[in-house]
């Protein structure tokens, strides 16, 4: 993908492989009535999860990180294929960190015009309910517009 020159419409989609974020990715193909010039897709491996894996002692830290990255990259590739998003159209990345911070960082780094996320993610646990989902945390800090896409039955599209 050649680098942007300036006037292009750039979109960042933050995914977590949930059905909701699959819908968010689908929405990215045509958003706010236009086809983006650049679509960046980001999956963040949660640091907390990595620490838990390491402290459980199932494998060494380097082994765990390597496995998580390999798995995530595979999953991301499949996730994109499921949405018929050819590799040349998008720039997909797996990173490790605190999800809402990494998403914010990427949005700034790529100077996107809009961020797309699912309203809900994968976490159904109490932590999410009480302390806010990743989407909410992103919203707390991000300065860019965010399109929050719910999971829904196909309504009249376009």
């Amino acid at each position: 993908m050649s680098p942007p020159t300036g006037e292009e419409y750039k979109v960042l989609v933050a995914v977590d492989f949930s059905p909701c974020s699959a819908h968010a990715l689908k929405s990215a193909k045509r958003i706010m009535g236009r086809k983006p010039d650049y679509i960046y897709v980001l999956y963040v491996i949660d640091n907390d999860f990595v620490e838990k894996c390491i402290s459980s002692g199932i494998a060494s830290a380097p082994q765990i990180k390597k496995t998580l990255f390999v798995e995530a990259r595979e999953r991301l590739k499949q996730f994109l294929q499921d949405q018929n998003l050819a590799n040349s159209e998008i720039e997909a990345e797996v990173t490790k960190g605190t999800p809402f911070l990494e998403i914010n960082k990427k949005a700034i780094e790529k100077d996107v015009d809009i961020v797309i996320m699912g309203t809900h993610g994968t976490s159904g646990d109490m932590k999410t309910i009480f302390f806010g989902s990743t989407t909410e945390r992103v919203l707390r800090f991000i300065k860019k517009p965010v399109l929050c896409v719910p999971i829904e039955e196909d309504r009249k599209d376009d």
């Binding site: 706010m32 009535g33 919203l139 991000i142 300065k143 929050c148 309504r155």
Partner: protein, 148 residues
Amino acid sequence: MYKKILVPLDGSHRSEKILPHVEELAESHGSKVVFLRVARYPQLVAYNGMEMGTYQKNCEEVIESARSQLDLIAGEFREKGIDVEVIVTAGPIVREIVDMAVRKDVDLITMSSHGRSGIGRVFYGSVAAGVLHQIDRPILMIRSLGSN
């Protein structure tokens, strides 16, 4: 693509930061815009016959004041050729917004991420968060806190 856009406003300048974005969207999509204000009735502190009369009058005034504020904004949009509807309701804020989105069958909701509640709040934009949890259609959130 977005035939109808719901724009909840709470009377604060912060919530109105969304308006230029709504205007741009509506103009490029030929969308109809539905402005919604969920008014908050004053608290009823004491109750006797006379109080009720005054209270009712106060409630009506709240609605009227909200409506005229929205009418002002609507007027500016109409001048630009945008089809606008103004609705003022009262009730639980999140519920009213979500229900109106369904009732009006809107394609998109646009909100400022931070509204009236401002500095006293522990959690940001609880209305935005509440709507996020319950909404069944896309919602465009634009930051309204701090410099733009």
